[in-house]
Amino acid sequence: MATRIFDEKYPGQPFVQTDNSLESRKEMSGKFLGIYNDKVSQRFWQIAGILGVLFGIGLLGYFWKIFMTKDPGDFGYYAALFSFLMTTSAGAPMVAIGPRVANAHWRRSISRVAEIWTLIGTMNLIVFLPLLWVMPSLDNGRRSLWFYWEAKGDWWFPFLIKFSGHIWTTVSILTLIVLGLAILWVSVMPDLALVRDHAPDGWRKKWATRLARGWKGSSWQWNWQRHRMGALGALYFMMLILTHFFISTEFLMVHVPGWIDSLYPITHAHNALQGGVATVVLTMFIVSRIGPYRHYITLDQFHGLGKLLLALSLLWFWFWFCSFMIFWYGKKPSEQAILKLFVHGPYLPVFIAEFLFVFFIPWWTMVWNPVRRSVWGPAIIAGSVLIGTLLDRVRMYVSSWDVLGISGDKLAANGGQFSSEYPREMMLNMTILNDPAFDRITIIKDFEGLAVPVSAVLPTMIDGVIILGFISGAVFLYMMATRLIPVINIWEQKELLLYNAEVQYHRAKVKVMGKPR
């Protein structure tokens, strides 16, 4: 074994010498602080400026959409954007959380790259809020996870019952955002302490001092930090799954009558993991190849995430096929209608493109070692996955919200009241009987089939502006966040000095990596 016996103090103990000298620690702190303190290039500000302007225009489109759009069916692209942002930015922190729990060393230089995406959660909340107004309450008889009855009592009780879906989804998203920000804060504290102690005077030092909250690096604080990150990470993962469960059911599936698929919520959550990994791969490519971190984000990180991206892309097919198979073999009228709506109907071109981008291209490229074991390969494929994910969200949300719009038209024509005809699409063309006991529609029979829209809904200019604006806004906010938060997790990099050694193994030099317990 390539170890040597340590000195007389610990006789007989095998020992591998790591390069954790004071000079190494100082050098590493100095290097990262140097990059952090360097003025960013003109190009950075030019790109940020363009993205900021696009974000501003997107915000104008956002207000236009809120105040000028009446038909809920016109919010399909908007809902798709919200879901896309939740799928990518909210999934990205899992790249830091998962490998950290598994003690994978390769994640050290990219964990912060992933964690900064938690900040975009606040923007997702802004995008989400108008959907609360657009989404019908439960008293119009729409499908929902939640029970509804005409509750009596103070204003708040009927309100709680009518808006159960709205309330619980909002609580879930808020909790996810708070957890994400907490993870980022806990993780960044030691690095902000470094900035507090060594950065030149200025706004960054002031903010670092405030946010570092008296961090001094005691064993107790480190121990606490580890426990906090573990607990918060686990809770974030659980909330991510739950949030996607709510979004996919309350804001998507309920619009389409007959769409009964217990697998879809977890498919939605899986998409978030795939989209999150793709987001991080693309971010780390930009940070390392265009930004100054080429020496720290290397082939190891791209290879590690490339394998994960391949696995998640294969899993995409598994989820999709499992759902597809049920509808395909079931062949009930409603199931045929679902397939027509989502697969071979008006959205067929979108489905084909999505299938290629999100599964087929990643599969047939990433299986090859030279592509997977490269920097460019995973980055290009991550771009492909993100395009495919956006198309997936457009296909699912636009078509579903279109059905909601059609149902809404019928509801409006009927004075906002239920009738035996209402709404044929929404209730799956079922004959509805009134329950004599509760005067509620509870018994459903006689499936006739769902009328599927004959043409796809195309985006309006406002839709395009909002989608472009908010995606630009996410990148813009990320870029601004990097002005305060070090993009590389400096303390984790320094920790690696404790566990990393190169030793002679017979006639070869090998890397020995230790693991903290």
């Binding site: 620690r25 957890l179 909330m239 303390w491």
Partner: protein
């Protein structure tokens, strides 16, 4: 009596570990001294006592609270409005599962965050004796004790071979 803290800086891990040995020999208790580093060393590297915490109790307590509330909430609403659905019992557990899960989770999350804040004792207004060299890579040993014992602490710290001078601060 007011407490004061003193800090000695070391270059090598073994020197810092020796300093703790000297402090123990001089009669200082585990809670009176701590190691300051810019890197999370494995617990026990310097022979220091392993920090004790009770964080795990918070999510368990939160989850139990959330579960109890959700059980009460879902049961009472179902009992209050006995709608028969599909011939199923009025108090149907499968229908309660989502709310049970979410409120259990929510309780765990909220209590964990409260627990983290509570047990972290945030915000910390006084850092005591501290040096900016810690984040640079030096290893610090800080002793927080009564004013009349600081000389003894300084002596123990120096015995292990500090780098530079002793740093003093209030706690």
């Amino acid at each position: 009596m007011a407490k004061r803290s003193v800090l000695g800086l070391y270059i090598e891990e073994d020197s810092a570990a020796d300093a703790l040995d000297h402090l123990r020999d001089a009669g200082f208790q585990d809670h009176e001294y701590e190691i300051l580093t810019g890197t999370p060393y494995p617990e026990g590297t310097f022979g220091e006592a392993e920090p004790q915490h009770h964080l795990y109790r918070w999510p368990i307590f939160g989850a139990l609270t959330g579960f109890t509330i959700s059980l009460f909430y879902t049961s009472i609403t179902q009992a209050a409005y006995p709608i028969l659905t599909g011939g199923k019992p009025v108090l149907a557990i499968p229908a309660m599962m989502v709310i049970l899960y979410e409120l259990t989770m929510l309780g765990a999350v909220i209590f964990t965050i409260i627990g983290i804040i509570f047990e972290s004792r945030l915000p910390r207004f006084f850092m005591g004796a501290y040096s900016e060299k810690i984040t640079e890579g030096y290893i610090g040993v800080t002793v927080t004790t009564e004013e009349d014992r600081t000389d003894k602490a300084e002596e123990a710290l120096k015995k292990a071979g500090i780098d530079g001078e002793i740093i003093r601060g209030w706690e």
